[in-house]
């Protein structure tokens, strides 16, 4: 187990490095490179910048320097949006807002999604199942920005019962959380339903029934735990989903989080922030996936993880 965890951490580390490399090379495709795209720099400033970022050196050396800085948690400084402030400081300032919103949405999506799936599976083939299926299919099909803007127009503008900007009150959380969690909630619901139906047809459920256990015990002890395993594996991608969904939702509802800031930095072409945020968010997702993988072992003893990691 410990061996597995170490291996997974090493693997995760390499993924982060890989992402950093991808980010670095992609950004170097921008004419002039990520650190120099402001036009009309005076020669002195240019030389100073070149010296600062080591841009006169070969690309691989630059990459090495960038990665070394990264290890020291130095993501460079912003050069447009908050000139010369360290990117990491900016991220640390913005991320808690996004994180809080994301965490609430995540919990909400799971808390609603799993019961929806269980209900649909329990009443499969009846109108309850059909209604829930229509709802979840629509839910996973509507893009997040559509949900966000429709909510904004209806509850924020036409009815004016919920605040349209920021995250200052309890009420202001309702719409962003709804917009952010609808699609994951529906996805979790569909996943739970299908895995529940899958598990119900397993032979060990038949064994449990043959023992004379009541339906309640069969469903809650034998079926639920097994059918939640696929839902657990979805938690990693779910985190990524909610983070990227946050870009749109934070933009629509003017929430001062990292997502909106990231979107702004893209349109402002503030490359150090784009690079830093990408690496930061990607690492966060990789870290979450790591945690989920380890949790998986606890829930499903069949998974011989040490073997799989070989």
């Amino acid at each position: 187990m410990a061996k597995y965890i170490v291996k997974r951490i090493v693997q995760a580390f390499f993924v982060v490095i890989l992402i950093a490399c991808i980010t670095f090379f992609l950004m170097n495709m921008v004419p002039g490179g990520p650190f120099l795209s402001e036009k009309a720099l005076s020669p002195e400033v240019l030389a100073a910048k070149e010296a600062k970022y080591g841009l006169d050196k070969p690309l691989l050396v630059q990459l090495k320097n960038y990665l070394l800085d990264l290890l020291k948690l130095d993501l460079g400084v912003s050069f447009k949006m908050q000139i010369n402030r360290p990117v990491l400081t900016i991220i640390m300032e913005m991320f808690p807002v996004s994180c809080k919103l994301g965490a609430i949405s995540l919990v909400w999506a799971i808390l609603c999604g799993i019961p929806i799936g269980c209900l649909a599976a329990y009443y499969r083939g009846t109108w309850v199942d059909n209604v829930l299926r229509v709802f979840t299919t629509i839910g996973v099909s509507i893009p997040g920005f559509v949900v966000a803007t429709v909510l904004l127009v209806i509850f924020g503008v036409k009815l004016s019962i919920l605040p349209t900007m920021g995250l200052n009150s309890f009420g202001s959380y309702i719409m962003p959380v709804m917009a952010l969690s609808l699609s994951p909630m529906c996805y979790v619901g569909r996943l739970t339903r299908s895995s529940m139906l899958d598990v119900i047809n397993q032979e060990y459920i038949r064994t449990a029934k043959a023992k004379g256990l009541s339906t309640k015990v069969v469903i809650f002890k034998h079926a639920l735990r097994n059918s939640l395993i696929p839902v657990l594996t979805y938690l990693g991608p779910l985190t990524a989903n909610i983070l990227t969904g946050g870009f749109v939702v934070e933009t629509v509802f003017s929430i001062p989080g990292l997502g909106r800031y990231f979107v702004q930095s893209i349109s402002n072409r503030d490359y150090p922030i784009i690079m830093g945020t990408t690496i930061f968010l990607a690492s966060f997702v990789v870290f979450m996936t790591l945690i989920v993988d380890i949790l998986y072992k606890v829930v499903d003893p069949r998974m011989d993880l040490s073997k799989e990691a070989n």
């Binding site: 038949r206 043959a210 023992k211 004379g212 097994n226």
Partner: protein, 335 residues
């Protein structure tokens, strides 16, 4: 073996209602099982032998439904039981073991957890420690060594044979009056198969419970059963004592099964003779004898009318026109 009736099945009919139509998986079968008797039900896959067993224990999965007949256990009509009564009945009075021990135990709970759960759901007053003691005792009974350690293990840590032993221990933990074994050895290695059959036999002798042994292997039946029922396409084709089935088979299908079975003491030149053709399409069962098209002695009437029941001796019956013809001719000669 005493001769009181334990289980009486009368004209049982089970159908599966699929989108493509009604599949009559069990099409009117009747037999009785006495206390302590071991009965073998033999047939190819799809002959309805498992479905019949599932309807006894009330585990038919939708779209399967009992459409007719009666199942009486100890004088009580099982089909009239409510779901709660059925839960009390299952695992307590009648237990079942299944074909594939690899998938029949829940992978996320320990062996001990699953054993004690089976015990305590019928013995509500039993304390946890006592249930564990009982579980250990049962594991010892089914020949698992080191049971104290085994009950803390997960199913995937055990071998197939061991898991089947655990399944048996779980089925027997409440000392049921009837054990239904649904092809309990099919998924196992040959050497382990023999061990498991021997185990069931021993426990049966020790406890005196009745056993319904479902299999497609006549060899297994010879070892353990008192009485054999041969099924084909949802119907009984022949039922007899185990001696009669092996030494005096009457139905062409039983004959075919015996000829397709390897014998240990066979002469070199004896060949196995397979039964030609494939089983019938259960969706549109023909009106005549379902085995007709595969039968080498098939007559015109076999394809037109269902064969009658021919009683050969007290506990030997077969459904075949050939026998009817013979019997009729004999009777006519006698006159």
């Amino acid at each position: 073996m005493d001769n009181t009736k334990l289980l009486d099945i009368d004209d049982l009919k089970v159908s599966f209602f699929t989108p493509a139509g009604e599949v009559k998986a069990v099409n009117g079968i009747s037999y009785t099982l006495n206390k302590g008797q071991v009965i073998g039900i033999v047939g190819e896959s799809g002959s309805g032998k498992s479905v019949e067993a599932y309807s006894i224990i009330g585990l038919l999965q939708s779209p399967g439904k009992v459409t007719g007949g009666k199942i009486t256990f100890n004088g009580e009509d099982l089909l009239s039981y409510s779901e709660e009564q059925m839960e009390q009945f299952r695992g307590n009075k009648v237990s079942m073991i299944f074909q594939n021990p690899m998938t029949c135990l829940n992978p996320v709970y320990t062996v001990g957890n699953q054993l004690t759960e089976a015990y305590r759901c019928h013995r509500k007053e039993v304390k946890k420690e006592d249930a564990i003691k009982q579980a250990v005792k049962m594991l010892e009974l089914v020949g698992i060594n080191n049971p104290e350690r085994r009950i803390k293990q997960y199913p995937h840590e055990l071998s197939g044979g061991m898991r089947q032993r655990v399944m048996i221990a779980m089925a027997l933990i409440c000392s049921p009056q009837l054990l239904i074994a649904d092809e309990p050895t099919t998924a196992l290695d040959v050497t382990i198969q023999a061990q498991i059959i021997e185990l069931i036999k021993q426990i049966q002798e020790k406890t005196g419970m009745a056993v319904i042994f479902i299999t497609h292997n006549l060899g297994v039946v010879a070892d353990i059963c008192d009485k054999v029922i041969v099924m084909y396409a949802g119907k009984i084709v022949e039922s007899a004592s185990v001696e009669d089935i092996f030494y005096n088979p009457k139905h062409p299908y039983t004959l075919g099964l015996l000829r397709s079975m390897p014998k240990v003491n066979a002469l070199d030149y004896e060949r196995l003779i397979p039964i030609e053709g494939t089983p019938v399409d259960m969706l549109n069962l023909p009106s005549g004898c379902a085995f007709g098209p595969r039968c080498e002695k098939c007559m015109k009437i076999c394809l037109r009318q269902a064969p009658p029941k021919v009683v050969i001796s007290e506990d030997h019956e077969a459904y075949c026109w050939l026998l009817a013809k013979e019997a009729y001719e004999e009777e006519k000669n006698n006159d």
